[in-house]
Symmetry: C2
DNA sequence: TTGTACGCGTTATCAA
DNA sequence: TTGATAACGCGTACAA
C-alpha cells in the first residue's frame, strides 16, 4: 500500500511559500528504484548488505530525482545533528581563523558541519556550554584555549556527558582527548636562538595569566636562561595580556629601564608587534638596537616590519586533529590518545646579533 | 489515552549511548501542565490565543522539567532549520572575523544559528551554493564580497529561490537585499586628505580586479585627482591583488620610478602594509619621505608602524544589517530596501605633509 | 539481501 | 481559547 503522498493535490498554502519544486524524498527514490526505503537508507548510510546492482539502481534514481537526504529528518530519527561546535574566546582574528580552517579541513567530506561559538571570556561561557549545545543540538564540541582550561567549563562538560575535545590544554580534570604543543620547549628553542646571537639581557613580556600557555612560555624562558647560566632579572619580566596594546605598554616600560635589554621575547606575536611599535617610537632600531621575538607565527608576524622571528604554532593542525579526535569519540566512542604536535622556530628579520 | 512513552522499559541499546537522563519532550510538559501539546507549542512559538494563566502553567512545567524544544523535530515539522550560512572567500582573517561577529550579533537572542562557509575562490563556490545549502538545510545565506558579485553564484541563488542577502555588492542581476558602503566617496575623502597635506604626486595600488570594490576605489581616486586639478599619471597606477605581497611588490615598483610619488594610496590595508615594508627596506621614512594610506581599517592598520591612515569600513555593521535583512526575508518574506552605511576617514601616523 | 512498521518530537490543520 | 491527529522524512528493530 503505497501511501500516495506527493499526489496532485500538492502545495498546502503554508508549504508553497517559496520553493518552486517539492524536493524528492527517500520514498520517491525507493519507488523509482523499485526498492524499499530501507534499502535507500542503507545505500545513503554506507551500510553493508546491499547488492552492488541494487545500490546502483538506487544511486541512479537518486541522481535522476536530485535527491538529497533531509538533514532534519536524519537528525530526528538518528538522534544526532551532525553539527559540532567550535568554542573559543580568543581575541586574535588570525588565531580564530586558523582554528576554524583546521576544524573545517577535517570536516571536509564528512556529513558534519561546523557551528562557531565565540565567547567574550570564560565567564561568558561558563555554565552555558551545555545549554548552548542543547539549544543547537550539537553532537560535540571542540574547546580552544583558554576556554579549554576553564575549570567550570570542563567540569560542566564532564558532567553533562557531551563529547568534546580540547586544543592545547594545560589543566587537568578532563577525560577528553586533546592535541597540544610543547610551549615550554618551543620557548626554550627561541631563547637558545637569542643566546646564540650573543644576547645576555633578554626580557620577557608575559602572556595573559588566565591563559595557561603564559605560564608554560614563562617556564621555557626561565629554563632557557638557566641552561645558559644567565641570571633571571626581575626587572626584565613585565606583564602582558596577549594584546597589541599590552605589548606596546610593556615595550615602553622596558625601554625606560636604566639598563635596557638587548632582546625582548614577547609571549605572542601581537604583543611583539606592540613592543616593536614602542621601540620605533623611541627612535630605536629593530634588530640593530634591540631584537624582538614573538610566538604563534600568526599573520601579523609576516606583516610588520621587520618581520618577526617567532615560533610557528600549528594551530590549524591542532584544530584539525582535535576535530578528528572528537569525531572518533562521537562515532565510535573511542578516545584517541593525547597528541603532541611539533613546533618550528621561524627566524626572520626582527632578531640579530647583540649590540 | 496517554501514550505512556517514557515508561520504565527505557534505554534501547542504541539510545543509552551517552546521555544519562532522557530529555523531556513537549508531551511531558503538556502532561505536567495539564494541557495539550499544541498549547505548549503555542507558548514556545509566541503564538496568540493562549490565556496568560495557561501560558504560565506551561512555562512553569517547562522550567521544572528542564524542557528545551528539540531542534531537529522543529526543523522537520516546520520545514525550516533556523540555520543560516555566511559565505565568503575573503583571505583576510580580520575581515572574516568582523563579518562573523556582525552576523552573530544580529543572531544573538534569535533562534537562528550561524554556519560559516569559507571558499577558496569564486570558482570553488560557483554552482555549489545550492547543493551546500540543501545539504546543510540552510534557511538562507549571507553573501560577502567578492562572492556576492560572482555572476554564476548570484544567478544560481536567484534561480533556486533560497533567500539571501548581500554585503557591499557592486554587480546587478540580483533581487536580494543588500547593505553597502560608498567606496568611491570614501576614496575621494582620502584623496582630499592627501591633497590637503600638499601632495600632488599621488600613486594608487589598485585592488584585485575581480573584486568590484577595486573599480569603485579607483574611480574615487580618479575623481579626487580631477576635482583638484591634478593629472592622472599612468605610471602612478600599479596593479595589486589585495594581498600583503602584492602591495610589497607594488611598493618596489613605485620606488623604482624616476620621479617618485610623495604619497601612495593602497586600495586596502594589507597592501598598504606591504607598501610600507618596501619603503622601509629602501631606507626611506613614512611619512617623512612618502605618505601611505590604506582602506578598510582592519586590525593590521593599527598594528603596523606607523599606524595607517585609512578608511574605516563598517564591516561588522554591514554584516549585522545584511543578516537582519535576511531574517526579514525569511520570516516575513519582506525585502528591506538597499542600505548604505557611512564610512569614516581615520587619520593616523602614516600620512603627513608633502616633502 | 531486503522489506515492514514504528517512532523520533515537533508544527499544522481543522474541528470543538 | 483549546485539543486531537495527521504530517514531516528518515533510522531502526525485527521479520522475511
Amino acid at each position: 500500500m503505497a501511501k500516495d503522498r506527493r499526489g496532485e493535490q500538492e502545495r498546502g498554502p503554508a508549504l508553497a511559500r517559496r520553493q518552486t519544486t517539492r524536493h524528492s524524498t527517500i520514498t520517491d527514490v525507493a519507488d523509482a528504484a523499485g526498492v524499499s526505503i530501507k534499502t535507500v537508507s542503507r545505500v545513503f548510510n554506507d551500510e553493508p548488505n546491499v547488492r552492488p546492482l541494487t545500490r546502483e539502481r538506487v544511486l541512479k534514481a537518486a541522481t535522476d530525482l536530485d535527491y538529497h537526504p533531509n538533514v532534519a529528518a536524519r537528525s530526528l530519527a538518528g538522534r544526532r545533528s551532525f553539527l559540532i561546535g567550535l568554542a573559543y574566546e580568543n581575541p586574535s582574528p588570525n588565531y580564530v581563523v586558523d582554528l576554524q580552517t583546521g576544524a573545517l579541513e577535517r570536516l571536509q567530506g564528512e556529513r558534519y558541519r561546523l557551528l562557531v561559538l565565540p565567547f567574550d571570556d570564560a565567564a561568558a561561557a561558563s555554565g552555558k556550554m551545555q545549554a548552548i549545545a542543547r539549544a543547537s543540538g550539537l553532537d560535540g564540541v571542540v574547546l580552544a584555549p583558554p576556554l579549554c582550561d576553564d575549570a567550570a567549563t570542563v567540569a560542566e562538560m564532564e558532567a553533562c556527558g557531551l563529547p568534546y575535545a580540547r586544543i592545547a590544554p594545560t589543566s587537568g580534570g578532563s577525560h577528553a582527548p586533546d592535541v597540544a604543543m610543547d610551549d615550554r620547549a618551543a620557548t626554550r628553542a627561541l631563547i637558545d636562538h637569542l643566546v646564540g646571537l650573543g644576547h645576555k639581557r633578554i626580557a620577557i613580556v608575559r602572556g595573559d595569566p588566565t591563559h595557561a600557555s603564559a605560564a608554560a612560555r614563562y617556564d621555557g624562558y626561565c629554563a632557557g636562561l638557566e641552561a645558559h647560566g644567565l641570571a633571571i632579572a626581575p626587572e626584565l619580566e613585565v606583564p602582558g595580556a596577549y594584546t597589541f596594546a599590552s605589548g606596546y605598554e610593556a615595550g615602553k616600560t622596558l625601554l625606560a629601564l636604566g639598563q635596557r635589554p638587548t632582546a625582548i621575547f614577547a609571549s605572542n606575536d601581537d604583543m611583539a608587534a606592540g613592543v616593536m611599535n614602542a621601540i620605533h617610537e623611541a627612535g630605536l632600531k629593530v634588530p640593530g638596537d634591540i631584537s624582538v621575538a614573538g610566538f604563534d607565527d600568526s599573520n601579523i608576524a609576516s606583516v610588520v616590519w621587520p618581520r618577526l622571528t617567532t615560533i610557528h604554532q600549528p594551530i590549524r593542525d591542532m584544530a584539525r586533529e582535535a576535530t578528528g579526535a572528537l569525531l572518533a569519540l562521537i562515532e565510535h566512542e573511542e578516545t584517541v590518545p593525547h597528541q603532541v604536535l611539533p613546533f618550528q622556530l621561524v627566524v626572520r628579520g626582527s632578531t640579530g646579533p647583540a649590540a
